[in-house]
């Protein structure tokens, strides 16, 4: 990547480039809507009253807006996360008793960089270091459930109070579900190779093992330049994965925005329908998407009268219960535990959906 090759080496240089980039980002974000207004309505001359024109405008504007938000959020979170390692999280959680451990694990699950494909090594690493299984599960639930992209997008679309509710709900579900599963005595449902202590011990290097990184890697603390490179790399990786979902999500959102009558959903999925939340959660499970794809849809549906609790439940279901992660976890968790895991989390999401519908009306 040519940008990456030309990044300054000094902290001051990085700082300068960051300020310029930040200014450019804010400028782009503020001018976004006006750009499309000008391009479509002034330059090309479309009539903003017609549905196709309005839908097209929404599609372009929302895609650009979300792409900008994604870039900003992923980059900032990516850089911040270079300060926390999963090995350090393990050190913090090792030997903690349940209760307190569940709360810490949930919080750390949100902050620690962790990709779903690492679910198995992370699980093995935690359990091997003496972290109780319930506490480990709180970490594994919180991580995908409280998604930083979802927080950012919810904040900008619905306000900080909704975003905060989402975080609080996600943390609560992770803490309670992890604790409940821990109480169920689930050791017998874990694949034996995980519990065999030999394989779970960290590989201490002859030269400098036992540091707070768990003595595993010879990595020194990343330089400022490296942190920025990691952030940029995260943006490239995630945007590269997410853009088709984003386009589909915004496309669907645009169609709903333009063609579905207002309050259409209020009749069928509104606060009067007791099954609304259940349907939303069930729909979310097979939908493998991510917050970027789900948010435009959620935004459009909210506009047409679907209650906020139902929508939050839908979004949590889409991002937290992902089939690929379940398939991976199957290698360490036997079916009864995996089933309980999905069941308890789904139950938590449903409860949150009903609770929020109740509170927010």
């Amino acid at each position: 990547m040519t940008i990456v090759e030309h990044l300054p080496q000094t902290k001051r240089g990085i700082g300068f480039v960051s300020v310029v980039a930040l200014a450019a980002w804010f400028g782009a974000y503020a001018l976004n809507e006006r750009l499309w207004d000008w391009l479509l309505y002034d330059r090309i001359g479309l009539d903003s009253e017609t549905r196709p024109a309005s839908a097209l405008h929404f599609f372009l504007y929302d895609t650009a807006k979300i792409a900008l938000l994604l870039t900003g959020i992923i980059f900032v979170v990516g850089v911040l996360r270079t300060f926390i390692t999963i090995e350090r999280t393990r050190a913090l959680l090792g030997g903690r008793r349940e209760g307190v451990g569940n709360v810490m694990a949930a919080g750390l699950g949100v902050a620690t960089p962790f990709c779903s494909c690492s679910a198995v090594p992370a699980f093995i690493g935690f359990v091997g270091a003496g972290v109780p299984i319930g506490v480990t599960l709180s970490f594994l639930i919180a991580s995908p459930l409280v998604n930083e992209i979802a927080i950012g997008l919810l904040w900008t679309t619905f306000g900080w109070d909704i975003a905060l509710l989402y975080v609080a709900a996600g943390l609560t579900i992770a803490i309670v579900a992890g604790w409940v599963l821990g109480r169920m005595g689930v050791e017998r449902w874990i694949e034996p190779f995980v519990l065999r202590s030999q394989t779970a011990r960290p590989n201490l290097l002859a030269s400098g093992g036992g540091s707070d990184t768990g003595g595993v890697a010879v990595e020194t603390k990343p330089s400022a330049q490296l942190r920025v490179r990691i952030g940029l790399d995260e943006v490239r990786a995630i945007l590269g994965k997410v853009w088709p979902y984003l386009l589909i999500g915004v496309g669907l959102g645009a169609v709903i925005h333009g063609w579905v009558p207002s309050d259409f959903f209020a009749a069928h999925a509104g606060p009067d329908n007791p099954f609304g939340v259940l349907v939303a959660v069930v729909l979310g499970v097979p939908l493998y998407s991510n917050a970027a794809g789900a948010l435009p849809l959620v935004e459009a549906l909210a506009d047409k009268g679907v209650p906020m609790g139902t929508l939050l439940a839908f979004m949590m279901s889409v991002v937290a219960l992902s089939l690929p992660e379940m398939v991976l976890l199957k290698r360490v968790l036997k079916l009864p535990l995996l089933g309980s895991f999905v069941g308890v989390v789904a139950l938590g999401i449903v409860a949150v959906g009903y609770l929020f519908n109740f509170i927010l009306t």
């Binding site: 393990r90 494909c117 992370a122 190779f193 779970a200």
Partner: protein, 80 residues
Amino acid sequence: MNIKVLGSGCANCVRLEANVKEALAATGIADATVEKVTDYADIAAYGIMSTPGLVVNGHVLVSGRVPVADEVATLLAAAR
């Protein structure tokens, strides 16, 4: 030089393997073997907690992120 890429096949470990190959080409190291380790029990034996992992001559150099090709090249050169 023995290089192992630890990971179970998700996009990150594929990228790491590609970066390793690119780094090898760039540094001209000819006598290196590159292996993919995908079995979780084997990966666990290295003690890493997040994939992908880069192991050179038995030492874990990077875990949990994908280093870019020139960072891999620097690490490989240092490991000779």
